[in-house]
Symmetry: C2
Subunit: 344 residues, 2 copies
């Protein structure tokens, strides 16, 4: 029966070997850098230190998983917002596509300026003109129809500088941050001034954030019975909620009902969200993406018309919030994986 | 070396024995009734059949987990709503507690009637009077202060008939249904005409539904800086959104952004939510709790002022939705576990 003892010995050695290999693998995996696109520096360290503090069971700053709420602005924080908000690019393209059905637009501002490619005249119509174009392209259809138009546009529209689909211009370091937070028990939300119906169709694929975790601006929607008596939700040309500036903590309260322990923004429109986040008790984190990289993306702050960062920057400096310097802190800017999906 | 072979044989037998025990346990667990408080009948069968269909990978009706959205009305569906909505009981108690600070209420309706315990005069002030009492007790304080007042009230207030805390008057069969759905990959939401700030403080403990999955009616909330420059959210005396009737599909769209595949209500205020749910493609489930049990709870439907079930009942009959007969379908009504927590 010697062979049985030998077989058992062999089995024990193999089992031990597998255990060692497995342990090494787990160890290596645990030590793998969760934020590989972030350069080592103060910003990265502040993030990983914070996550370690709030997830250490028994530690002074431990936060139970259900309270690990993280909110992110979208435009300029998770994806690019230059040369102007991508939702505006969508509205312009939609208006042009709708023009044949609106012959009156040929002689009516702001539509005339848009159709004539007269940027100066378009700019002269100001915010009121832009809102008219947004209203015309964001109402008078059902939610389902609007969702389809967003996805159709996203599939064919290209950014004027990068010649890539807009939803591929998402920041790789922020994708890693979202995944890292979720792996540490956080629930990640978007809290954006952008339209909630414009974001929901594509953010789940782009960021791994489901529609029910998207807070945004909205227009009035009406329940009605359409053709064939089928219930439908119709988008009306009336603003309901602006999820920007002081609207952000209000939106967070309405949609989430808990105060975030981490928030990230990039402009003065995020200031109140960051203030609200930091005013809670316990460990908290406020982050700002500072666009400093004209070569790889854009460089803008206090003087910018889009994504102006002025008061929020001052407050970040005064209070020691984390300001991410895109040029210094990020190894890469845009997601290569998202770019690969680009069809020629 | 015979003893080694014997030891190995013994070990094999023990291992096999443990495996059999474990398999039996798993099997028994899998076959355990997930809805023990539901009598066997059409309603229970409709629920379990539906869940089996949408969770069977490769089946014709399979629904991926992220789309398994289930929405539940609260008043009369998850907890009792008689003799009148519990939020109204809260408002009455709060108004009485606030009265010393409002001497003018002694001679001002509807407050005078409330303070005089004059139910006839109070009823005469109608819906307008009730709304005044709700407004007076639901505004002029911060969200944090209001949350505290709800929890304080819930700890001491008792139902006039059952003499139990209001949040213990939750339906055991519905708690089992919520848990059963979540165990099958559903995300459960409340979609209620009740105030969102009134529900959020206690629903997580009562139903296992986190604040961010509660959709309800709301008043306007304002971000401001309070004493010491601390950011705060102030509740204003202005209705913002009524999450009832046609407002329910609108609220679902705004907060969740996906159409539910299962919805449960109990009154005409849930009709449009059920219609919206059933109008989607694929397998869908609409359920109505019919209050038929005057002995254990209450019996009411077409003629009731609270929780009127008339048009939704007709539509349920016409379309073959599941109508739960409380008396016939439920073995128990209220949660015994919740009752145990009652302090004398």
């Amino acid at each position: 029966m010697r062979y049985i003892a030998l077989a058992q010995w062999t089995r024990n050695v193999v089992t031990l070997g597998l255990a060692i290999i497995f342990a090494s693998f787990v160890n290596a995996f645990a030590r793998a850098d969760p934020l590989p696109s972030w350069n080592d520096g103060a910003a990265k360290k502040a993030i990983t230190d914070f996550v370690a503090r709030v997830t250490t069971q028994g530690g002074a700053d431990f936060v139970p998983p259900e309270e690990r709420i993280a909110t992110f602005d979208n435009d300029g924080t998770l994806w690019c917002e230059q040369p102007y908000y991508f939702q505006l690019a969508f509205a312009f393209d939609e208006a042009k596509a709708m023009a044949p059905k609106h012959p009156e637009w040929k002689s009516k501002q702001p539509f005339k300026a848009l159709l004539d490619h007269d940027q100066k005249a378009l700019a002269a119509t100001g915010e009121k003109g832009l809102l008219q174009i947004v209203a015309a392209t964001h109402s008078g259809m059902t939610i389902n129809e609007f969702t389809k138009s967003v996805l159709d546009w996203m599939a064919v529209a290209r950014h004027p500088r990068f010649h890539r689909p807009y939803d591929s211009l998402v920041y790789q370091p922020m994708l890693e941050l979202l995944a890292y937070l979720r792996a540490n028990g956080f629930k990640t939300f978007i809290v954006s001034g952008g339209g909630v119906e414009f974001m929901r169709p594509w953010v789940e694929k782009a960021y791994g954030i489901p529609p029910e975790q998207v807070v945004g601006s909205s227009g009035v929607v009406k329940f009605q019975f359409g053709a064939g008596g089928k219930p439908e939700l119709m988008k009306e040309a009336k603003v309901e909620f602006i999820d920007d500036g002081p609207g952000k903590p209000v939106g967070i309260n309405r949609f989430i009902g808990r105060r975030p322990i981490l928030a990230f923004g990039n402009s003065d429109g995020d200031l109140q969200m960051l203030q609200w986040t930091m005013a809670g008790s316990g460990a908290r984190f406020a982050g700002i993406v500072h666009h400093t990289d004209a070569a790889r993306e854009y460089a803008y702050d206090r003087q910018s018309r889009i994504g102006k960062l002025d008061k929020a920057w001052d407050e970040a400096e005064a209070r020691g919030w984390t300001v991410v310097d895109m040029k210094q802190d990020w190894k890469t800017v845009f997601s290569a994986a998202a770019a690969k999906e680009t069809k020629p």
